[in-house]
Each structure stands twice: as C-alpha cells, then as structure tokens.
Amino acid sequence: MGEDPIYSPFFGVMGATSAMVFSAMGAAYGTAKSGTGIAAMAVMRPEAIMKSMLPVIMAGIIAIYGVVVAVLIAGELTATGYTLFKGFVHLGAGLSVGLSGLAAGYAVGAVGDAGVRGTAQQPRLFVGMVLILIFAEVLGLYGLIVAIYLYAKK
C-alpha cells in the first residue's frame, strides 16, 4: 500500500530510535530520582531498602517497553520494499511508546522518591505508594498498547 521512495526507511529508523531514546529518558529519571530517595532514607531505616527498590524496578520496566517496540520496528526495516506507509506507522508507534514512557518514568520517579521517604517514616504508607506507582506505570503501558496496535497495521 503506497509508494516506495528511497527515504522511507528514515522514518522507520527514527521510530525505533525515538521508542528507545524517550523511554530511556523516562526510565533514567525514574531510577535517579527514586535512587536518591532510597539513599537518603537508607541512613534512617536500612531494613526498608529492599522494599523500596520497587520504584526502581518499575522505571526499568518502562525502559523495557521501549526496547520491545524498538526491536519490533527494527525487525521490520528493509532497504527495498519499505513503503512510506510503513515508515510513518512505525514512526507513530515509536513516538507513542517513547513519549508516554518519558511521562510515565517522570511520574514513577517523583512518586517513588516521595513514597520511599514517606514509607521510611510511616510504614503503612507502602501500600499507598504501590497503588500510585501502578497507576503511573500503566501510563507507559497505554503507550505500548497503541504502539503495538499501530505496528500490527497492514
């Protein structure tokens, strides 16, 4: 479907790149922000460190969303026979998972930082932190869903 100009793989490659780059930005922010919170509260309550690893793991999962979509897009790239339709669809898929991953990682970082610091002082807050983190993580999942739906278009 559609024509096959020589520059259409550029958009596909940019889709794979943006999927990985933006979700990595979100994951890095989430890891750094919650990691700083963990380091700060560890001095007061070292026994709570392993429980507080949860925001860091969830930030890593956001990076994995980006990796999955980037691998899927890169697997479909070809030199010839790659239509402009495919190129733009892959660009859309990459941008959707990447930018939602960026936002989700930002949210996970901020909530994780506040959550681990609060849990150190009041252990009953842990369940609340988990619930809020799940809602933040699911934002990245929405991006992944749209990316997969776009990617599967013929």
Partner: protein, 222 residues
C-alpha cells in the same frame, strides 16, 4: 554622579537568565520568517523534506551517527562522574574510608562512555565507499546504501542520547550512595543495586544500536 554610577554597578539587574529563552526565540523567529517567505511567495513546495533526505549523502548520516554516538556518551559519563565525584570528595572529608569503595560508581559512569566508544568503532567499521556510477544506474544498490546511512544515524543517536541520560542517572545515584556510605558503611552495596538498574538502561540502548547496525550494509555489492 559617582554615587549613582556605583549604585548602578552594585545593583544592576542581571539579564543572563534570559539567555536560553532569548536564543530559542531568535531561532524560532528566523525559522518562521524563512518558512513564511517560501510559503507566501508561492514557492511552498520547495520546502521538501523528501528532497533533503534523498539528496544528502549517506556518508553524512553515517558519520553524524558515529560522532553523536561517542560524543553524547562521553558527555553523559562526564556529567555522571562530575556528580558522583564531587559527592565522594565532599563526603570523604569526614569519612575518608569511602574514597576507594566509591570508585566503583565512577567506573560505572566510565563504562557508559566505553559503550559509546564501542558502538562508534563498530559503526565506523561499517562505512564503505560505493561507486557513484553504479548508484546512479542501479536502484537496489542506491536504496541499500541510503538505508545503511539512515540506520547508522539512528543507531548513533540511540546510543548517544541513551548513554547521556544513563550517565546522568548513574551519577546521581552514585552521589547518593557515596553520602549514605559516609553515614553507614553497610548501605553501599544495597544502593549499588540501584546503580546497576541505571546501567542496564545504557545496555538497552547498546542492544538496539547493534540491532540497527547489523541491518546496515554499504558498498557496491548487492
């Protein structure tokens, strides 16, 4: 007269905070004027992204990819080392025992720069020359070379920017680890786990770059 001059010198407002906003506004104004000039004088179709992508040489894309891969990775590693290094030195004033163990954080940041170096070397090994006459006649070889150029650019940008953010992240966490280590020596190893998660992000970027590079093949062969 002198008193007003000294008053102005001591209390003059600083306009430096408008630097980035001013630069961004100037650039977007120039871009808007250029685009409007083309559009309003009936030459709108000359703004052609497709023409730009197909007329630029794949050597440009590939070389930009190589340059961006190593340079942005090194910037990320440098920012990380800057953050974690200052914290190690600062914390080490009261607790000098932390200085040797916390070099691990610095090494994690350095590893980010090495990832970028590896990808840049692999990418630059992929750059090969093609004969122009063959490219002008054979569409398949032209498509293959142009595709290789785009892939290498994408691989380079992926590695560069992902390592940039990974280096900043590892530096931040390393800084926290150094200060926690200064307070309580048993904490360092557990906070190192967070640094490992941060390092994994750089590895993801490396995987995607290698995947993109493996598809790129420049040269004369079909």
């Amino acid at each position: 007269m002198l008193s007003t001059t000294t008053y102005a010198m001591n209390n003059s407002p600083s306009y430096g905070k408008y630097y980035y906003g001013g630069l961004y506004s100037l650039l977007s104004f120039i871009l808007t004027v250029i685009v409007l000039y083309y559009v309003l004088t009936g030459r709108g179709e000359r703004i052609d992204i497709g023409w730009f992508l197909s007329e630029t040489s794949p050597y440009m894309w590939a070389s930009l990819g190589v340059g961006i891969a190593v340079s942005l990775s090194v910037v990320g590693a440098a920012l990380g080392i800057y953050t974690t290094g200052t914290s190690i030195i600062g914390g080490g004033v009261k607790a000098p025992r932390i200085k040797t163990k916390n070099l691990i954080s610095v090494i994690f940041c350095e590893a980010v720069a090495i990832y970028g170096l590896i990808i840049a070397i692999v990418l630059s090994g992929n750059i090969e020359s093609y004969t122009q006459s063959l490219v002008d006649t054979d569409d398949v070889i032209k498509a293959r070379n142009w595709y290789a150029g785009y892939c290498m650019f994408g691989a380079g940008v992926t590695t560069g920017v992902v390592n940039l953010v990974c280096g900043i992240c590892v530096g931040q966490v390393g800084s926290g680890a150094a200060l926690s280590d200064a307070a309580d020596p048993t904490l360092f190893v557990r906070i190192l786990i967070v640094e490992i998660f941060g390092s994994a992000i750089g590895l993801f970027g490396l995987i995607i770059s290698v995947l993109l590079t493996s598809k790129a093949k420049m040269g004369d062969k079909n």
